[in-house]
């Protein structure tokens, strides 16, 4: 097994799937000879040509609209939105059309489409207001969509392969802080990680922290610190925020009786609120403390200045403090 980065895992998934299935096409801004702004499509234009790796105009709504049309006609398009912050112009296509196609036709048609987009920010890895957002909750609210946010290279590959083969539209959001910072052994052959199934990233008996995406690694770092004091935190990586892995959320919450939900996006009406509601509904009898949440502040985006960005971002220190607060119950 080769050790590869998160972005290489994504690239490798698309390359393998394009070799296997000639219905798979990529489209987006600079995905062609340039290989994508983060290199996720590097080399694919050379191998598969301009018909299958399509450099598009800077027009997100039509990128997704054309991809939907391709999907209706039997192809397997993967549309790249260069930054998740650029996706609002395409919201109509995603929410009004892609998400409703199977339902409106009572299963007469389907829309097997993947929309990939780099998301998130950090003190040193973001471009402020319009290059840093975590907008997953907007999509996770919509029945008909699936929303996947992998946290490791091996999950990124297996989930992207599953997303491309999925018969329904999948939003696939990649935290750009992970692209090159993570490296792990990833199987060279193809394999699928099922959409809608979370994983236990660290086992623990004292409290549960439910999280996803880049925040998983910050939570793991915080959990390590608590472990030195004998407090065992179970870290649940959701991997998919729609559909949520209800079973895993509930079983871990019942096991530890204490739950913190952590994500980079702001809290109000977010994924954490939904997870907390599931825990409150299903695990009330087993809870030994309030369901807690930690996330970004209620401001519209990550501000540019480092001093301000630090307030926005979580990091292990803030998570550790919150975990200790919960452990004290």
């Amino acid at each position: 097994m080769a050790e590869i980065t998160y972005v290489e895992a994504i690239r490798s998934a698309m390359e393998q799937e394009m070799r296997r299935d000639d219905r798979v096409l990529l489209m987006g801004e600079d995905v062609g000879p340039k290989g994508g702004v983060f290199g996720a499509t590097a080399g694919l234009f050379a191998e598969f040509g301009e018909e299958r790796v399509i450099d598009s105009p800077l027009a997100e709504a039509a990128i997704v609209g054309v991809a939907i049309g391709c999907a209706l006609a039997g192809l397997r398009p993967v549309a790249e939105i260069q930054f998740l912050d650029f996706i609002p112009p395409a919201m109509d296509q995603i929410i009004s059309e892609a998400a409703k196609i199977r339902y409106r036709s009572n299963n007469d048609w389907s829309c097997p489409l993947v929309i990939r987009a780099p998301c998130g920010g950090g003190v040193h890895v973001h471009g402020a207001l319009y290059h840093s957002q975590s907008l997953e909750a907007l999509f996770a609210h919509v029945p008909g969509l699936k929303v996947v946010i992998p946290s490791t290279p091996s999950d990124a590959k297996g989930l992207l392969l599953a997303a491309i083969r999925d018969p329904d539209p999948v939003c696939f959001f990649e935290h750009k802080a992970l692209y090159r910072s993570l490296r792990e052994e990833v199987p060279e052959e193809e394999y699928l990680v099922p959409i809608g199934k979370g994983r236990v990233a660290r086992e623990g008996r004292d409290l549960t922290c439910i999280t996803y995406g880049a925040t998983v690694h910050e939570v793991l770092a915080a959990a390590e610190r608590l472990a030195q004091d004998g407090i065992q935190v179970e870290v649940v990586d959701l991997r998919t925020v729609r559909p949520l892995d209800r079973e895993l959320i509930v079983s871990s919450a019942r096991k530890t009786g204490k739950v913190l939900v952590a994500h980079e996006a702001n809290l109000a009406v977010g994924v954490g609120a939904e997870v907390a509601a599931i825990v409150a509904e299903e695990c009330f009898q087993q809870l030994d403390g309030p369901v807690m949440r930690i996330g970004g502040p209620e401001i519209p985006a990550i501000p540019f200045a480092e001093s301000l960005a630090e307030v926005y971002c979580l990091g292990p220190d803030k998570i550790e403090a919150k975990l200790r607060e919960l452990a004290a119950y």
């Binding site: 409106r104 036709s105 389907s110």
Partner: protein, 329 residues
């Protein structure tokens, strides 16, 4: 073509009556007056060519050969409807007939049609796409994004603009700086033609030429049909924005008697035969209304069916390219 136009006219007159009796709920947008556009355009291409339209969509469905009974039942919201009561008046569709639907968000289907055309080109299939929209949609950004991509990639799509002089309650002068919509196609170097939308032969000729252009690999074509809706924007429209004389002048150009006279004059049909067509169609539509009225409502237990293809099942997606409803279907 005469029969098709009469079908649409009678279908909609009965639909309006059912709406007045509260048997059809929601919103009802009638195509009466514009029948020559859908009928002439769809008759000019092959049965397997693809059609997408906007919310004033009964005409496309019937011109594409969808069963009037199933269309009427859809308006009535019944299980026997074309979309099993999921869509209603504005969202008729039938994949098997390559009629990909009415779309209620103005302009949203313009890039989707371009995407289907991309797939036809990629798959080296001979079909072309007819993408219908109104003058109102040309003020929408997605119209321009869709035309831009179609022209850039030389896609086999005929954009058909039904210029009926009004975007809902706004006059053409209020919604567009140019009166002729073909001017907007020129910016994308797209060949275009204006035709008389009140004359089914004029539309037929224009679209025949446009489709031949697309099919021969020369890229997209823009057809503007000058037409007029005899009824309001929807059944709820008091039509305060246009004067009665204007409506009377246009009604004198009614495409159905006009084409009837042509047929008699050129000895294609006798007056008796045309009267016979009307009688047969009227009987067919009475039967459609009876069928719709007597059809069962969808079972409330099915309300959450077909949001996704199936529950998440990694085993099922692990093997080979799976089957999906493709254009061959």
């Amino acid at each position: 073509m005469y029969r098709r136009m009469v079908q649409i006219r009678h279908f909609e007159e009965h639909a309006a009556e059912a709406y007045a009796q509260a048997k059809v709920g929601g919103f009802l947008h009638l195509y009466i007056g514009e029948e020559a556009v859908a009928v002439g355009a769809i008759a000019a291409v092959r049965e397997e060519d693809h059609v997408l339209g906007h919310y004033r969509d009964h005409g496309y469905a019937l011109a594409k050969g969808c069963d009037p009974k199933a269309c009427m039942a859809e308006l009535f919201g019944r299980e026997t409807g074309l979309c099993h009561g999921r869509g209603g008046s504005m969202h008729l569709a039938e994949a098997a007939r390559h009629y990909w639907g009415g779309y209620a968000i103005v302009g949203s289907h313009i890039p989707i049609g371009a995407g289907m055309a991309y797939a036809m080109q990629y798959l080296e299939q001979p079909e072309v796409v007819l993408d219908f929209f109104g003058d109102g949609a040309t003020g929408n950004g997605i119209f321009h994004e869709g035309l831009n991509m179609a022209a850039l990639w030389n896609l086999p799509v005929v954009f058909i603009c039904e210029n009926n002089l009004y975007g809902m309650g706004a006059t053409l002068a209020e919604e567009s700086p140019v009166r002729d919509m073909i001017i907007k196609a020129e910016g994308y170097t797209m060949p275009s033609v204006q035709c008389d939308g009140m004359d089914v032969l004029s539309v037929y000729e224009a679209v025949q030429k446009a489709a031949a252009h697309c099919r021969s690999g020369q890229g997209p074509y823009f057809v503007e049909a000058l037409t007029y809706r005899f009824r309001g924007h929807s059944m709820a429209d008091p039509e305060l924005y246009r004067d009665k004389d204007e409506v009377t002048r246009w009604k004198a150009l009614d495409p159905i008697p006009k084409f009837g006279e042509f047929c008699v004059e050129h000895r294609i049909s006798s007056e008796q035969e045309l009267a016979q067509v009307k009688e047969e169609v009227e009987a067919e539509m009475l039967e459609a209304v009876r069928f719709a009225d007597q059809s069962p409502w969808p079972d409330p237990a099915t309300v959450d069916q077909w949001i996704y293809a199936k529950p998440i099942d990694p085993e099922a997606i692990a093997t080979g390219p799976d089957q999906l409803s493709s254009v061959e279907g």
